[in-house]
Assembly symmetry: C2
Homo-oligomer: 306 residues x 2
């Protein structure tokens, strides 16, 4: 096999009470990429469709993660990468992560799978760091493993696969505004009240338990973020209106996707997820701000060959 | 049935990263109590063996929780309570909780079980509040439900039963010193670094996942408390030496039981738990401080009729 086409999914990180550790994978939104073995050594990006991103390997997220893997192998050939980008950069649903995992997943397949999923994540972290200026795996882990993932530690990298209830869907709105990562970080407090932290880990432990036990009511009672959302939601126009609309339309919970501006909700069943979409669409249409909206089953498989 | 004899177990609360929410139940340490229906109305404590505790119903933890239940029922008889106390008050392994749950569990059995476990916990909270000056269910929940319990919220009271791996044991040392609850509370910071809080909920989510998946290695990697232990351990003589001795002897993890002074460890298998006991016994014998030490299987059943 000398060429492979893959689907690299969008992802939601910072899932409410699981801020900085819990993410999940989408299946209706994602990039497509073609990875090709070439006689010419090195990593070369030959095509980018959809958004204006750099062709220079060292300046491109997919290129940097590919180079990290390429440095770890000893081969007499190289790889070409074509990127068909559907996930808007800066949307908060793992655009850079999709690029970063796509190249290394595809190369690994063409090499006969010498690396496991955690190792792929390690390589992809290098690409992600180019985009987000820090090494994290919040979006990479769900993109590679699928379903819900808990990134327990980054050094050493330890990723836990948390079970995904069968009937869980997400509805996500992406308001077309820009939030600078630096601003989203700067707005966070350095210290938080101990009592808020206790509420957060009570909810997070409950959410992990709920995912293990297919307990949708408990998912609903656990999907709260007492720590970060009160700060970051200020950066997203009409956040409170969107969130309450989602909940009123039947969502189990809602919150900021990544560091925003996208807002996600989790829903039991496709019908509810579509109701949430319709309700949010109506509310946001009146704001004058352009937006995309997605309904997606939680993707248990993660990145895949197509 | 007019009389019932019960075993009311000791418990460990504030389990490392699950501070204020996670507890577990012991089976080798506990009080015995006899609850008896009487023609005489009201709640009367007729016997207390083991420790010097008040006979006045309103001043006794078991009496206060019994009164809370008695106020909720309409009967033309009363109850007598005998308490055979084995758990030392102030030990940090749920002495007051054992008393508080014993009376209401026994009364409920004699009444034909009109109340469920959560309702029993509600009554017992009133007794626990007499001892600890605040309403909490950290020790009550594991005593009543058995195994590991997560107290998600106190109002409304929501208790989750987390699975208990089959081969899990605890070794607990109780140094015979007094820690005032007020001091243990005052030493806690009001605010904590956000980064420490994130580490704590990553560990707590991982611990819940580990208990669901019987993953002893992950239990070991998750049993850390980055938030409370650094403060409260200063109140317990030789805490660091005991903890490192427990870990060196093979314990999966160790920490402060409740608000101390007891120190617990969790171990895979009885043999390791006994090794830990022997090693800690040796170290603590040299300190000149008197101590008790217990080895116990995690008690999945909780409080029971004997």
């Amino acid at each position: 096999m000398n060429e492979i086409k893959i689907f690299s999914p969008a992802t939601v990180a910072n899932v409410s009470c699981g801020f900085d550790v819990l993410g999940f994978c989408l299946d209706s939104v994602g990039d497509e990429m073609v990875i090709r073995k070439t006689d010419k050594k090195g990593i070369h990006i030959t095509k980018i469709v959809g958004f204006d991103l750099p062709y220079e390997t060292e300046l491109n997220v997919a290129g940097v993660s590919a180079l990290a893997m390429y440095d770890a192998i000893d081969v007499d050939f190289g790889f070409e990468i074509e990127i068909y980008k559907n996930i808007k950069p800066g949307s908060g649903i793992g655009s850079s992560a999709a690029s970063a995992v796509g190249s290394v997943f595809g190369m690994n397949e063409l090499l006969g799978n010498p690396f496991n999923k955690t190792q792929l994540t390690e390589f992809a972290i290098k690409g992600e760091a180019l985009a987000s200026k820090c090494e994290h795996a919040d979006n990479l882990a769900p993109a590679i493993f699928g379903g819900f993932t808990l990134v327990k530690t980054i050094a050493p990298l330890e990723i836990l696969e948390i079970p995904t209830p069968q009937d869980l869907y997400a509805t996500i709105i992406h308001p077309q505004i820009e939030i600078k990562t630096s601003e989203a970080r700067a707005i966070l407090p350095k210290e938080i009240p101990l009592n808020d932290a206790i509420i957060q880990w009570a909810n997070f432990g409950s959410l992990v338990h709920a995912l293990h036990t297919n307990n949708y009511n408990l998912i609903e009672r656990s999907l709260h973020d007492h720590v970060v959302e009160p700060y970051r939601s200020k950066l997203i126009p009409h956040f409170d209106a969107v969130k309450s609309t989602m909940l009123n339309a039947g969502a189990l919970g809602a919150g900021i996707s990544g560091s925003g501006p996208s807002i996600f909700s989790l829903c039991k069943g496709l019908k509810v997820a579509k109701n949430v979409k319709d309700a949010v669409e109506k509310v946001y249409s009146e704001t004058g701000i352009k937006f995309d909206i997605h309904v997606s089953k939680i993707n248990k498989e993660g990145i895949k060959i197509i």
